[in-house]
Point group: D3
Chain length 133, copies 6
């Protein structure tokens, strides 16, 4: 159970409700997931985290599907169960197919393997990789 | 310096040379980076790793640029200096612009932050996230 | 369920009971949590771990509350569910308020984010940071 | 070398300069460390990261020294060389003595050890730790 | 529940069944654990992962027990609950006693501790450790 | 450079010298590596860490070579450069051949890969793995 409990919409302050409303509007959903309800005990962190995510996950040079898949790649590497569940849902909503998910996982697995081969073998960075751009 | 040293092309066995040749052909480059030269002391691991990466990184439901960026996202999360340098180069070669790199990093940073907020606050997975697909 | 099972006080050897007694005395509690009961199958590790924690967590240049919060910061970063639950309880007992918990989590989240921005952007250490003290 | 290079004050846009000025004013220093110069290629991330850190690291329920030490605890756990160097400097500036540093490291080391003993032994969370507050 | 669900033997394609048969033959068991059933939605990853594990875990310079214990050491460090459970079972089947398990955990715990003391104290590599072999 | 600097034998207190002497005697070497010299600024942590390692790394149900290789497996997973360098040297001294090193790395790499496939695919623990022993 969340350390400070969950703040339901009905019990939320006007400040928190406004953020909940914005989350639902931006995400085009009619519910708030537990992450935000847990953070709501600290309205400053709730606001800062939501404003940051809203800015970061908006369409830009990368589209929302790509961003959700990167989020899922990081969460799988860190083995964060909650984050994997929520961003798998987010990526599916943004268009991730089963084939894309499977390829994403294959890359994540391989990268985690070679990251350790590199460190274990003490491989030095090639000169050619050291230049900017 | 790599634990077992680096196997240069000139000193490589025919088996290792064949893999080096395939790496250069598939990647359309004329050199071999240190990672492969370090693994070459163990031809079985060299072959298995290369065959796996060749299969995983080939175009599929996700394109090569997306795959390189996911590789970079994982490597940044794991803070593997060599892997970050080599896959930044790989992603650029596949078309990553400065803007795409910056957005990738923003997502990676945010995901690493919220992964820990979730665990620290002990947030439970929402029922809606638990269903398959 | 713990790999080797849990050693309850009633079933413990005199050696293990003495350590359980010391844990309860130092911590001013009347029960032993599962961590110690799991380790008790290896009395050497039980003793060494308890003696180390007793020494490390004692008041010193840092007070016990600060030490519990640092323990919680590490456990949240590593996403160790058991450790987060037990050290949240420990920190509360030592005086951590909801406000302190929320600020702790905000710092932990931010540090995990910037750690990856630093590595992903391949930022070199400033000369000024390299000097001792 | 930083992936996108470093943006020096003399070469910075007015938007970036204003953030640099604020960093120096808030931190009471006359220089900008490489982290910010690397991020400056992405002014949105520079601004968001700085505004977040300014809010999070300000005095509150926890004082600045405590916050810097928590930052250092996380960075040591993640083994981020740059972050360890910069936040060791930050913590010293905020008043961390050698004794405090040594005790901080002792707790960080121990927490990393017991986090893995818990997972390796598959220890279940005690009922008493599951209640909110 | 596994993201793509589990593929039971009765529902598997001939290609997947052949891999399941090989897993059971090599491991001398009569059942397939969930890991493979989850991967089976992506036959390429199922095949590649199984062929890699079959090659890596076969007796060689290190015996199967040692390899299972190394697998368990890594999984405990990464705090992967599923992997700890399955490789504890695998190591036991290969001959791991309670005493060996306890010593393994002690080393894993200590290594995780000193890894962070090294990074936190910013210890430089000794000249003598830098030479190859 | 180590945060608190390195304590050389000639400058060490009698207490620290006694520990240095014990390290050299137990390890049958005539020098002290930087890790201990860095810790020596905190004699309590120096003593506790050395006494713990001496107990843990002594021959038991697992032999010293196996223990050094497990230490190296953990350090490679955590990507601790110093620890990889020092424990590669330690494992070699205890008898690790090039073939053993290569197989160790192959297992470490694979375990890091499947750890993330398991988490990314959200694989649940099989009933059969949940029983004690």
């Amino acid at each position: 159970m969340a350390t400070l409990g969950l703040v339901e919409y009905a019990d939320a302050s006007p400040e928190v409700r406004a953020i909940y409303d914005d989350i639902m509007a931006v995400r085009k959903t009619d519910w708030i997931n537990n992450f935000w309800k847990a953070l709501a005990h600290d309205p400053k962190t709730l606001r800062r985290t939501w404003e940051s995510i809203k800015e970061i996950m908006a369409p830009g040079a990368l589209d929302p599907l790509m961003k959700e898949m990167i989020y899922l790649a990081v969460s799988s590497t860190n083995q964060c169960g909650y984050c994997i569940a929520s961003h798998t849902a987010g990526a599916r909503k943004a268009g991730m197919t089963d084939e894309m998910f499977a390829e994403l996982m294959a890359v994540v697995g391989m990268a985690n393997e070679t990251n350790r081969l590199v460190s274990g073998y003490q491989v030095e960075i090639d000169e050619r990789f050291l230049t900017t751009k």
